[in-house]
């Protein structure tokens, strides 16, 4: 048959509703429904195919439900299958129509042909309509007792489907008990395996409410059950073997003999062609021997070869999955793999996700004997065309340097990188040289000679620039040009976008000053002046701090800025060993690939609001396509569980208790005063929650700059009470606009208490003419997106507000197309937020 999508597209290229086609199909199906002419089955098949193909590409063909059911009364099995597929797809949305199909499905469940019985039972359970569950119990009960294993196999999974539709119906009908007896007695291993899957799911979710279920769940791990499975393991399909071994990995044997028996029995699984089986067996071996250190080591030796084979066979995706596990093992026991480092050499054409893992492993296995070879190899990659990998490999060299005692050769290599004259190589190498010097100050002489030759103009990346500036400050006595380079950089203060670099610049020039005062004095003055005028809070504060420190006492200042330093012995590990152990416990699952334990990515509490912010960020690319509505729907649908409410035009729901609540608080004295009162009445509101205009006055310099920024704006900010913004344009704006303000406030305990019902906050904010467009998250992290519009003009303020109820902090990001008034809006927003929870 012709490719369905194309034919559809040509018919209605703009709007794929396919309405005319659907009504065509409807009439054709009607004609065929009653016909008994020869060959009618073939034409029905063609029509059904068309319906299914429309369904696949997303055209709604649910209106054909009745006709489809009528036509399927035929005996043709292919027709039946297509009809079952159709019914399964649309029954959920059309529960009334689904009732129509119950009859013929129930009849088919009693067909003499076991295939039809099985298929009908599978479809019946796939209807997923809650009020039809009563019709499922009977067929399922007889399906479980069917003398054909195919039907039993389907029925077992059917029970699980029923459980997900209506748990109580399933348990009340005693199905779990029936499954258990099937599991222990059925001759067909696929039936047994399905029973195991179903029971594991049912009892795990029942365990929280029923003690009996949790006992039953424990019973699955009892010696008799585990042995029953182990003794039959060779009869199971490869997938079921994975399932069984997953179960065995959780089993706690009573003594060491048992452990050795199980390992001997499963050892041949390591030769299985299916990588999933091999990994499952490895998990059993690793888990069983955790308490026996020496045997555990032997297990590592034993599983090395099968793992390396798996890595080198199969598609890149498969080897990625295996490599992630190998990576975990290598980081746990690097010495065992240190002789196999050549296996981790990258091939030129490998995908970068594979290369990255390999680089990590090369870093991990480096020791005294192989460092030279590994570093030589890594240096080859530094010249790689793939820039992220080139960077990664330079970082790897650095990591090895930091974990080795003999860094002689490595330092030379790093210095060679600096001479390669590629911007990204230089950048990475600078960062590394800096870290290296912090650990091995004795190398400063060699490094500084090379670093001094680097023109700061060629270094653009903030991290690298910061590293270079740090070295200029730290070793200014050895670098002839240091004060002049710093001076140059300070002259271009305004062009320096990274706050990190500016902070480093301040410190470096201070350090330089204490070593070479006459040459640096001018630069220091300029730096402090620029720093005090800086709009970045941290830079400003640091400049002020230095300024006052210098005023106070020069020798104290020197002690603060240039204390005698101790070399860093170990750089902190980013991941705690507890987390690493949890990942190890979840061997052979996604945790290993993501390199974080499962609760971090399956638990809603943990991923909650952060996911949501990703959504908005990532969506940016998608919206470039014609319709901006689609991504918005995606956000809603994907995060249905996250969204508490999405009110766009909720008007007239404002709290009417107080008339003044309708008026937006104005940015003038009164608002500030309430602020101050609040600050006094509730000690949890710290000083910086005050409007900055009040705090500014006594700060050197800053007042001028901020004042200049705010003077053109009118002090009064009125918001439009009936602001309207659709989610699509919100996202578009959010994407386009830069963050004009980012602040953290504290929330009063009353506010936190009132936040137990987040909609209350939304109402409250709406009372202040700040509207919520989306909200989500689970306590303690709540996330809101607000917007507001100016009363007279069209300018809009967008706010992302993350509230942590346990620390009583709110992080606010404000974006606005009117940068000037955003400060005023921020104050307004803050005051609105702080009055929340007060009656």
């Amino acid at each position: 048959m012709a490719p369905p999508a194309q034919s559809k597209r040509s018919a209605s290229p703009s709007q794929p509703s396919g309405k005319s086609e659907v009504s065509d199909l409807k009439s054709q199906l009607r004609q065929l429904a009653g016909s008994r002419a020869p060959g009618v089955d073939d034409s029905k098949r063609e029509l059904f195919k068309k319906v299914i193909s429309y369904m696949t590409i997303g055209i709604d063909v649910s209106s054909l439900f009745g006709e489809m059911v009528m036509c399927s009364a035929a005996s043709d099995i292919v027709l039946k299958k297509m009809c079952y597929l159709y019914v399964g797809n649309y029954a959920k949305g059309n529960p009334d129509l689904a009732l129509l199909t119950i009859n013929f499905l129930q009849r088919d469940c009693k067909d003499e042909d076991p295939t039809i019985r099985g298929l009908a039972l599978r479809s019946l359970c796939s209807l997923r309509v809650a009020n039809l569950v009563e019709y499922l119990v009977g067929p399922l009960g007889s399906g479980l007792k069917d003398n054909n294993s195919y039907v039993r196999m389907v029925a077992v999974i059917g029970v699980l489907k029923l459980y997900h539709i209506s748990g109580s119906t399933c348990v009340d009908a005693d199905f779990p008990v029936m499954l258990k007896s099937l599991m222990l007695n059925d001759p067909d291993t696929q039936v047994v395996a399905n029973c195991l899957s179903a029971l594991q799911e049912i009892w795990s979710s029942e365990a929280s409410t029923s003690e009996e279920a949790s006992r039953e769940r424990e019973a699955l791990l009892s010696k008799s059950v585990v042995y029953y499975f182990l003794n039959r393991i060779k009869e199971f399909s490869e997938w079921a073997q994975c399932l069984v071994m997953e179960l065995v990995a959780k089993y706690v044997p009573s003594d060491n003999n048992e452990i050795f028996d199980i390992m001997n029995l499963l050892e041949d699984r390591l030769h299985h062609a299916n990588g999933a089986v091999v990994l499952a067996a490895i998990k059993v071996f690793l888990q069983l021997t955790l308490s026996m250190t020496d045997v555990h080591q032997q297990v590592y030796e034993r599983i090395k070869a099968p793992l390396l084979t798996l890595v080198s066979s199969g598609s890149p995706e498969q080897s990625y999955a295996v490599l992630s596990h190998l990576h975990l093992l290598v980081t746990r026991a690097p010495y065992i793999f240190s002789a196999d480092y050549k296996h981790f050499y990258c091939q030129y054409n490998e995908p970068s996700y594979v290369k990255k893992l390999k680089l990590d492993m090369l870093t991990a296995v480096a020791n005294e004997s192989n460092t030279y070879e590994i570093v030589t190899e890594l240096c080859e990659y530094a010249a790689n065309v793939d820039i992220p990998i080139a960077r990664e490999s330079i970082r790897a060299v650095g990591k090895i340097a930091l974990q080795q005692y003999d860094v002689n050769a490595i330092v030379d290599r790093l210095l060679q990188f600096l001479e390669m004259e590629k911007d990204y190589v230089t950048a990475e190498a600078l960062v590394l040289v800096k870290n290296l010097l912090r650990k091995y100050p004795q190398w400063s002489h060699d490094c500084i000679a090379v670093v001094g030759n680097i023109s700061s103009k060629n270094v653009q990346e903030p991290k690298a620039k910061a590293a270079l500036i740090w070295m200029l400050g730290e070793y200014s006595q050895d670098m002839h040009d240091a004060p002049y380079i710093l001076e140059n950089l300070i002259e271009n203060w305004d062009e320096e976008h990274s706050a990190e670099v500016r902070l480093h610049l301040l410190t470096a020039v201070m350090k330089c000053f204490f070593k070479r005062a006459p040459e640096t004095q001018k630069a220091l003055g300029a730096a402090l002046a620029s720093g005090l005028a800086d709009f970045h809070q941290d830079v400003h504060d640091r400049a002020l701090f230095y300024y006052r420190l210098l005023q106070y006492n020069l020798s104290v200042a020197e002690q603060v800025v240039n204390p005698p330093k101790q070399a860093v012995s170990v750089f902190a590990d980013t991941q705690s060993s507890e987390i690493k152990d949890r990942i190890f416990d979840e061997f052979n699952s996604l945790s290993v690939v993501y390199q974080k334990p499962s609760y971090m990515f399956t638990d809603k509490e943990h991923r909650g609001p952060f996911e949501f912010s990703d959504e908005l960020g990532n969506l940016s690319i998608g919206t470039e396509s014609a319709d901006t509505v689609v991504p918005a729907q995606i956000v809603e649908a994907n995060d249905k569980d996250l969204l508490l409410s999405t009110d766009e035009k909720e008007e007239g729901r404002d709290p009417s208790s107080n008339g003044s609540a309708y008026n937006a608080p104005s940015y003038d004295g009164t608002a500030s005063q309430t602020q101050i009162e609040l600050a006094i009445s509730s000690p949890s509101v710290p000083g910086h929650a005050l409007p900055s205009s009040l705090a500014i006055d006594d700060l050197l310099g800053l007042g001028l700059q901020l004042g200049a920024a705010t003077t053109p704006s009118p002090p009064q900010l009125k918001l439009n009470q009936k602001a309207v913004l659709d989610p699509g344009s919100f996202q578009q704006k959010w994407r386009q606009l830069p963050i004009s303000l980012s602040q953290e406030y504290s929330i009063s305990p009353q506010g936190v208490a009132a936040l137990t019902s987040p909609p209350a906050l939304l109402q409250h904010m709406q009372g202040q003419s700040i509207h919520c467009i989306a909200s989500g998250g689970q306590p303690p992290n709540l996330k809101f997106f607000f917007f507001a519009q100016k009363a007279e003009e069209s300018s809009t303020f967008l706010v992302e507000c993350i509230i942590n109820t346990s620390s009583a902090k709110a992080q606010i990001k404000i974006k606005s197309d009117d940068q000037i008034t955003s400060q005023a809006f921020s104050t307004l927003f803050q005051s609105a937020l702080s009055t929340f929870g007060f009656p």
Binding site: P114, V154, W239, D268, A280, T309
Partner: protein, 438 residues
């Protein structure tokens, strides 16, 4: 739980849905949109085959011009999911008879839906063996074999065989001529430094079989691998015969091989599936015979000229020959003109991959053809940085040669009716990733 996939999608390169099959309700119906927006239309595509979006994890694989995407909501078993996709694709291929691509899917989508229903139920993999599935899901869609046996006898039906002891073989096969074909296919991976030292070298080999045998035959395969030979000499208390023995680093077998017997007696014995299958896979790192040595010299003469000399030496027996030899020698992007001299085969400059491509259709053993080329470069002011050379890459096939030296010592077929069989054994060595830095 091993997989419990919530949904499977097949998409073409533009992101149109070819097949969608939802197994569970725990993910939204428009997961495919999330995949399109967050992965397909971004630079993320190809950076990692496992991605998390909004609480769901996406595993995707590209196979010819189709993406297969599995969506899961739990902490699933990744290796199992990818293996499932690979197995499913080979199942589809065995139904379509050949290619698996967008057209094949469009032409067979009803069949694919049928198969997806059988191979996975509620997210759990079921039976994926083509042998068994073909018994009751047929392309012609004729009624299942059960219908002809309305008595519903419990024993000889497909579903028992689904999981029976010999799930991969049907009973009652009859062939007029009983034949076994055995191919040893090796691919050599090499990474050689510019100084000519071997950085990394290994061989991954496969033993492929094609069996046309009647009844339920028992097969036994003997190789010249070290462990097997030692065990044999132990059992027969006879010293190991002289001659080369091969040390296999690791072996994996098709599910038909009796692994218990392999572990105790070190013999490969099995009841083969009918038709084609992969009997075993192995990996060797020690004592690899490299079929080719490549000696490149690349000189940059000033800023606009390069001189490239490459000598390739075949080190296998003089009576053998390699086929389809291709040597790709990288040149800088700004190459303007090239002049060649080759002593064998043909060479040309391919601007699309920035390589000189030298092809030799038939390459006899113990010879050493050379290529010398002059490359003229466009001089650019911007490109003052030195050129980072990718490695020279090589493709070849050498029939009747194994880089590992592995040989079949015997292949015994035993069946209770005692028929005679004809056995055919072939060897071939191919280039895996054969890279020489220069």
């Amino acid at each position: 739980m091993p997989v419990s996939a919530s949904a499977i999608y097949f998409l073409n390169l533009r992101g149109d849905v070819l097949i969608n099959r939802l197994y569970r309700d725990d993910v939204g119906g428009n997961m495919v949109d999330a995949f399109r927006v967050h992965i397909m239309q971004t630079k993320e595509l190809g950076t990692c085959p496992v991605r998390q979006i909004g609480g769901c994890s996406f595993f995707y694989m590209r196979i010819s011009n189709v993406y297969i995407v599995i969506v899961v909501s739990s902490n699933a078993n990744v290796a199992c999911a990818f293996k499932f996709v690979v197995e499913a694709v080979s199942l589809f291929k065995s139904y379509f008879g050949g290619a698996f691509d967008e057209d094949a899917i469009r032409n067979n989508f009803v069949l694919i839906y049928e198969l997806l229903d059988e191979i996975m139920d509620f997210g759990y993999p079921q039976n994926l063996s083509p042998e068994i599935l073909k018994l009751y899901i047929t392309q012609e869609g004729v009624r299942s074999p059960f219908s002809s046996k309305p008595t519903d006898r419990p024993v000889p039906n497909a579903t028992l065989q689904v999981t029976g002891a010999v799930g991969w073989r049907r009973e009652g096969l009859v062939y007029k001529k009983n034949e076994v074909f055995l191919d040893i296919v090796e691919s050599v991976n090499l990474l050689m430094s510019s100084k000519g030292s071997v950085l990394r070298c290994d061989v991954t080999g496969k033993v492929l079989m094609k069996c046309f045998l009647s009844g339920m035959p028992d097969l036994k395969l003997g190789l010249n691998d070290k462990i097997g030979l030692e065990k044999e000499s132990q059992l027969k208390s006879r010293p190991t015969k002289s001659g080369k023995t091969i040390e296999l680093d690791d072996v994996t077998f098709h599910q038909c091989v009796n692994l218990t017997r392999f572990n105790s007696e070190k013999t490969v014995s099995f009841v083969p599936p009918d038709g084609e299958f992969e009997l075993m896979k192995y990996r060797i790192t020690e004592g690899v015979n490299l079929p080719f040595k490549v000696l490149p010299t690349i000189k940059e003469l000033g800023r606009t000229r390069m001189e490239v000399n490459v000598k390739v030496k075949s080190v296998f027996g003089a009576k053998m020959f390699a086929l389809g030899v291709v040597i790709k020698i990288p040149v800088p992007k700004q190459t303007a003109k090239t002049n060649f001299q080759v002593t064998s085969g043909r060479a040309k400059y391919n601007a699309a991959i920035d390589c000189l491509v030298w092809k030799i259709r038939k390459f006899p053993g113990q010879t050493e053809p050379t290529l010398s080329a002059e490359v003229e470069l466009i001089s650019t002011m911007a490109e003052k940085k030195s050129w980072t050379k990718p490695p020279i890459q090589m493709e070849f096939q050498v029939p009747m040669f194994t880089a590992s030296g592995l040989r079949v010592r015997f292949l015994k077929v035993w069946e209770k009716s005692g028929y005679n069989t004809v056995e055919w054994v072939r060897y071939i060595t191919k280039a895996g990733s054969y890279e020489i830095r220069c």
